[in-house]
């Protein structure tokens, strides 16, 4: 009998699928919010013309890539390879990504617990975090969104209702 045996690391298909779908949907929602929400639009306007960022988990993904192409914000898919990115938000592992994206842990708490690596300039990272917070407020019911964002914003009812409708419609229909 061999003294040392080789063991292959297992798989986490459910968690991987959840994180993948969440990132895909969020990426599409960022694209939609940039067209529907003034604040998100302003945040992207202040960023470089060719700005792109990715968010995902180490070591093997999944990822989402969002960037500006010809002035419009677009979801650029799930493959960051070979694409210049100004900012990379890397969650250290799939388990941490699952914690964050199932709202068991807020982004702020995950950062405190050293689960996220930010690779890029701080102003870019802060702008993207503000955008992601707004998108989460649009996408999620208040009770869940409060777990995800540091401070739940006080928006007029009109912005919340019409914005949510617009973001969901654009995300699902993809325009």
């Amino acid at each position: 009998m061999e003294l040392v045996r080789d063991v292959q690391a297992g798989k986490k298909p459910f968690k991987r699928a959840y994180v993948g779908i969440f990132l895909w949907f969020t990426g599409k929602a960022v694209q939609a919010a940039a067209r529907s929400d003034e604040q998100v639009k302003r945040e992207f306007d202040a960023l470089p013309d060719d700005f792109a960022f990715s968010m995902g988990c180490l070591p093997n993904g999944p990822w989402m890539v969002v960037g500006k192409e010809e002035g419009a914000v677009k979801y650029l898919g799930g493959n960051p390879e070979g694409r210049h990115q100004h900012l990379r938000l890397k969650i250290k592992n799939l388990e941490a990504a699952f914690l964050i994206l199932t709202f068991q842990e807020s982004t702020a708490m995950a950062t405190v617990r050293n689960r996220i690596i930010t690779d890029g300039e701080l102003p870019h990272a802060l702008a993207v975090m503000r955008v992601l917070d707004i998108v989460e407020v649009y996408l999620l019911p208040r009770r869940i969104a409060k777990l995800a964002v540091k401070r739940y914003p006080r928006w007029p009812l009109k912005r919340k209702l019409f914005g949510r409708f617009a973001v969901y419609t654009r995300t699902l229909l993809g325009f």
């Binding site: 003294l3 040392v4 690391a9 798989k11 592992n93 799939l94």
Partner: protein
């Protein structure tokens, strides 16, 4: 800068602690350019459960790793030699030790033989020079640790290896593993760490960096050990004790071996009794000895043991007695939580007199022998003074 009192503090160990800390291992390995680690662990039930958790933590990393789960306290250099050859054949580029005590000692010696490219690991000795960085070594601590896992020391087959490069690069303390052992294992681990920390914290050569570590670690253990052993504190208390234990190794690397450590280690070498148990029997008698010697700052123990508020309200002249009283209460509480059958002296712990003679002989050979021998004799023959019934706490 005062040239007469140079301060040096080296700690190459990174501590990665907290909820799901294990899942960071693949990323930490990639930071060392390692992708194919060898996991070394023991055969006992807690180690097997911990192993399943560790393997699950690698999920989705796509890694393949080697597994050797046969470390025992009789593992020798011949086994290390076989492991070294296997590592070279199968290209394992890092070592992960899962557990404590002899598992980590074996991992450290294996790392030396691999990194120094020793042709025959059976020829390694304590004199083998270790002057440079070794291969990545990561330690995943479990409840059975002794505190020396994070230190720059390894004891293997009666030899003592020392080098700052022996210390692991990374120590992982995950609540899922910290709480896995029974209360007795957590108690022994915490008491061994507490013994070494207390000795370092009151030692005559003051070092602010080391004191910062020992202060924090003493506080972590004092606040959490009783709850962790009794099972009231859950994973949080056990993880806090784990952190204290890990820090105690860093402190030990920057101090010498003092009386308590020597006592605990000699009894462990002869009879395999956990140093924590021995140290809990001797701690207050040893501190009493230090009190009568010049230069030991016993009052420094009061602050980490009592907390900020009590420290602020205390008078400086009361702090030595206060610290000893708190320590006495802490040890008594922990031993109570360990259960009624916790041995009160070495005889009850199963050390027969012929073995005790061996212990005494070894202690006598030490420069501190004149102090250590009477202490050990008392520990065998009678109940240590602070454990006697009716003793005020």
């Amino acid at each position: 800068m005062n040239p007469e009192s140079p301060i040096s503090f080296t700690c190459l160990v990174k501590i990665n602690s907290g909820d799901r800390a294990l899942e960071n291992l693949p990323m930490e390995l990639s930071g060392f350019d390692a992708a194919r680690p060898l996991i070394i662990t023991g055969k006992d039930a807690a180690d097997r459960k911990a192993l399943r958790t560790l393997i699950r933590a690698f999920g989705d990393s796509g890694m393949t790793f080697g597994l050797f789960d046969g470390v025992t306290d009789t593992t020798d250099l011949a086994v290390i030699d076989v492991l070294k050859r296997t590592c070279l054949e199968k290209d394992y580029d890092a070592i992960i030790a899962l557990g404590g005590a002899e598992i980590v000692d074996a991992a450290k010696v294996l790392n030396v033989s691999l990194s120094l490219k020793v042709p025959d690991a059976r020829k390694i000795s304590a004199e083998t020079p270790i002057r440079g960085r070794l291969r990545p070594l990561m330690v995943v601590l479990t409840a059975g640790a002794t505190g020396l896992e994070t230190s720059s020391v390894s004891r293997f087959e009666g030899m003592v290896f020392r080098s700052e490069y022996l210390a692991p690069n990374l120590v992982v303390i995950d609540p899922r593993l910290a709480d896995m052992g029974d209360g007795k294992r957590i108690a022994e681990s915490g008491l061994a760490a507490l013994g070494r920390l207390v000795e370092a914290h009151i030692s005559t050569d003051k070092n602010p960096f080391r004191d910062a570590y020992s202060f924090t670690a003493i506080r972590l253990i004092a606040e959490n050990l009783k709850d962790a052993v009794a099972g009231h504190g859950g994973k949080k208390a056990a993880t806090a004790v784990g952190n204290g234990v890990a820090m105690s190794g860093c402190v030990f690397s920057n101090t010498g071996a003092f009386l308590l450590h020597k006592l605990g280690q000699v009894v462990y070498d002869v009879r395999r009794i956990h140093p924590g148990l021995t140290m809990s029997m001797a701690m207050l008698d040893v501190l009493d000895l230090y009190r009568r010697r010049d230069g030991h700052d016993l009052a420094a123990l009061f602050h980490p043991l009592a907390g900020d508020e009590e420290f602020a309200l205390s008078r400086p002249e009361d702090r030595v007695d206060g610290a000893l009283s708190l320590l006495r209460r802490l040890i008594a509480d922990v031993r109570d939580a360990m259960g009624k059958d916790t041995p009160r002296n070495l005889r009850e712990a199963g050390v027969p007199w012929y073995m005790m003679e061996d212990v005494l002989e070894r202690l006598e050979a030490d420069p501190d022998g004149p102090y250590l021998r009477p202490l050990a004799e008392r520990m065998w023959g009678e109940e240590p003074s602070h454990l006697k019934k009716g003793q005020p706490t």
